[in-house]
Subunit: 399 residues, 2 copies
């Protein structure tokens, strides 16, 4: 058996995990205490309050679920969909498809409204479908990790109001990198993951639900089909009673506490500005190299950039070379975009000028090996100009 495990120091520019601040790793290494210890209960309260700040909500039920972002999705669907419930879901990527699949497994009556993978959903299509199916829940992915599209949520709020439906939003790839305003956008059920723009290791799903959603939860006629993710019990442990449900993942919650404090210390607005600025620098570099972004300008995520792979270039070889020769991880396409795009994450700690410049440098070298000619140094030069122009220090507000 080999001895020490020494993972390489990667630059994590894939769809997550992103790079983790050493303070977070240090936090996870603190002595484990019991999940009912008064000191842990204090920490739980602090983490909940930090999550409320980041989600921009006053929802009492705001907590980290004991699983990855996908467990957050499962909780969001399983707690709010009963057999036969009409469930309307916008599908413009793999994670929308997954939401529909989750709802089918909960025996919901699923209606899908689709948009091409790379475009946002059309609210008019959702409204037309809602008129037909009278949904109890309308579910959309705010930040489609599979396509790089940001879905505006405010137009969907109105549809939900008109049909008295709950608005469910997946913010796995936006929370902490893009504005996510749960209360003012009228989002009733919202979940995320820790390993994206929050820059904590994967393992927890930040989750929040409105009073309106809780009323629905408490008026269910059947039990939630997941015991592990049953919010009616989970919230007893995270509420005043602290009733044991399952043993909380102590060390992960230590880590999340540190990650959230870093977010709040930077300031939400500063953090969004940093993500936006670095995204713009990245795009300038990509375009100067003669490559194209997959998503049109106005709907691009800052946190997850889909770059169209030129036809003459071998997807897998480039990704493998980036990893082996430059210690840079990026993601391949998912679902129908497999082989057609690269997914480059600029999330949380990873969203730094130095990573973007180094990536553009490395990508140019890899593309050259494939015979793809891009103007010498054009990518880094263009990015450098934008990154320098927009702000001197990272975190400074963008005008």
């Amino acid at each position: 058996m080999s001895d020490d495990f020494n993972p390489p120091q990667r630059i994590l520019m894939g769809p997550g995990p992103s790079n983790v601040n050493p303070k977070v790793l240090e936090g996870m290494g603190k002595p484990v205490i019991g999940h009912l210890d008064p000191e842990f209960v204090r920490l739980m309260n602090e983490v909940q309050q930090l999550l409320r700040t980041v989600f921009q909500t006053s929802n009492q039920l705001t907590l980290p679920l004991s699983g990855t972002g996908s467990a957050g999705m499962e909780a969001a669907v399983a707690n709010f969909v009963e057999e036969g419930d009409p469930f309307l879901v916008g599908v413009h990527g793999v994670f929308g498809q997954r939401l529909a699949e989750e709802a089918r497994r909960c025996r919901g009556q699923v209606t899908t409204v689709e948009a091409p993978f790379g475009e946002p959903l059309n609210p008019d299509d959702l409204r037309a479908a809602a008129e037909k199916c009278r949904p109890k829940v309308v579910a959309v992915v705010h930040a489609e990790t599979s396509t790089g599209v940001l879905q505006p949520l405010e137009p969907i709020k109105e549809i939900c109001e008109d049909f008295d439906a709950l608005l469910l939003a997946d913010t796995v790839t936006s929370l902490g990198g893009h504005p996510v305003a749960v209360d003012s956008w009228g989002v009733d059920i919202c979940y995320s993951g820790t390993q994206k723009c929050l820059s904590c290791p994967p393992g927890l799903a930040p989750f929040t639900a409105s009073e309106r959603a809780l009323e629905r939860l408490h008026s269910r006629t059947s039990k939630c089909q997941s015991w592990y993710l049953d919010l009616s019990m989970v919230c007893q442990y995270w509420g005043e009673k602290r009733t044991y449900h399952h043993t909380a993942p102590i060390s992960m919650i230590y880590g999340l506490r540190e990650a959230l404090r870093i977010v709040v210390e930077e300031g939400l607005q500063n953090r969004w500005n940093r993500h936006q600025k670095n995204h713009l620098g990245f795009v300038a570099g990509i375009e100067a190299m003669g490559l194209k972004m997959h998503v049109s300008r106005e709907f691009r995520l800052w946190s997850l950039n889909t770059v169209a792979i030129p036809e003459t270039v071998n997807d897998l070889e480039v990704r493998q070379q980036l990893l082996s020769d430059f210690d840079i991880e990026i993601g391949g396409g998912l679902g129908e975009l497999q082989g057609r795009v690269w997914r480059v994450g600029l999330m949380g700690e990873t969203s730094r000028s130095r990573n973007i410049l180094y990536f553009l440098h490395a990508l140019e070298k890899c593309l050259r090996r494939q015979g793809f000619q891009c103007p010498n140094g054009a990518g880094v030069a263009a990015a450098s100009e934008i990154l320098g122009r927009l702000s001197v220090t990272e975190g400074e507000p963008l005008d």
Copy 2:
């Protein structure tokens, strides 16, 4: 907002989490890499092989699920129970009740066979029930964390063979502290938690399933109602294809790798002996103090000791004093044993002579404050004698 979080150095003698070896915490702090990184894939293979060693199995499907032990239970039930399937469960504690509840939520036809909380199940009762309900799965808790009872599994194997049922066993509190011989005991579906006798922080559920169980899984007529825990997909990621399903909790898996290496380095037999010896020393101390164990000698768990609370003693005050004055955490009773027993865990790193002696010393002081008179120093003296007699160094085989 407060600054640094500095958790106290507790002696974790509750029902879990147990104390964690610093090497495990150090492991969790290593740089995060991607869940599809070739270096991580190597680590996954190593962790799977270590889990096979600890479970004493050659099952291909052996992996850590991305949730706590309760997620392991949910996966065990949700993947192997379809609507209407007859499911026989032995209930001799809270976790047996939970298994039954999980199966009901999967719409199984649940039959329960009960034993008092503090006694094992009677195999004859299980056989009689099996004759009536012809179960597809027989589920039992090997180590009932709520009662401190060890349930012999070998007699149940025969019942499962006779009725062609799968044997499902909960080994959350036994794996790594008691022998768990998945293959030779004919266990088809088995799960555990990381925060008990494996002494890793909570957050993962070691899981294994036999070839026979996999055949059942692949012949399901409906989809598993949990997408997150659907083994038909999870095992694609943990199998040769490494197909993305959800982002694995990287840092927790780093930690589990270290925890399992410590187990294997100590040696399974040595580790079981250590747990047994320390349990015997503990019991000698408890009885010398005039207290009684809740479970009769032959069915006692080594890892989780239930001590009957004397009638004149205030349960909560004693536990609070142990925590505040001695930094010792123990557990209260669960379910119908609430207020009637203390649950004292001697799991993994926590199962050490020094912890037992200090606990007996502390308990004596706390009981005196309540007016309960125990012979001066009798507990520590009796324990000291047994602990010294049985073995000079911990880890040495017991004759």
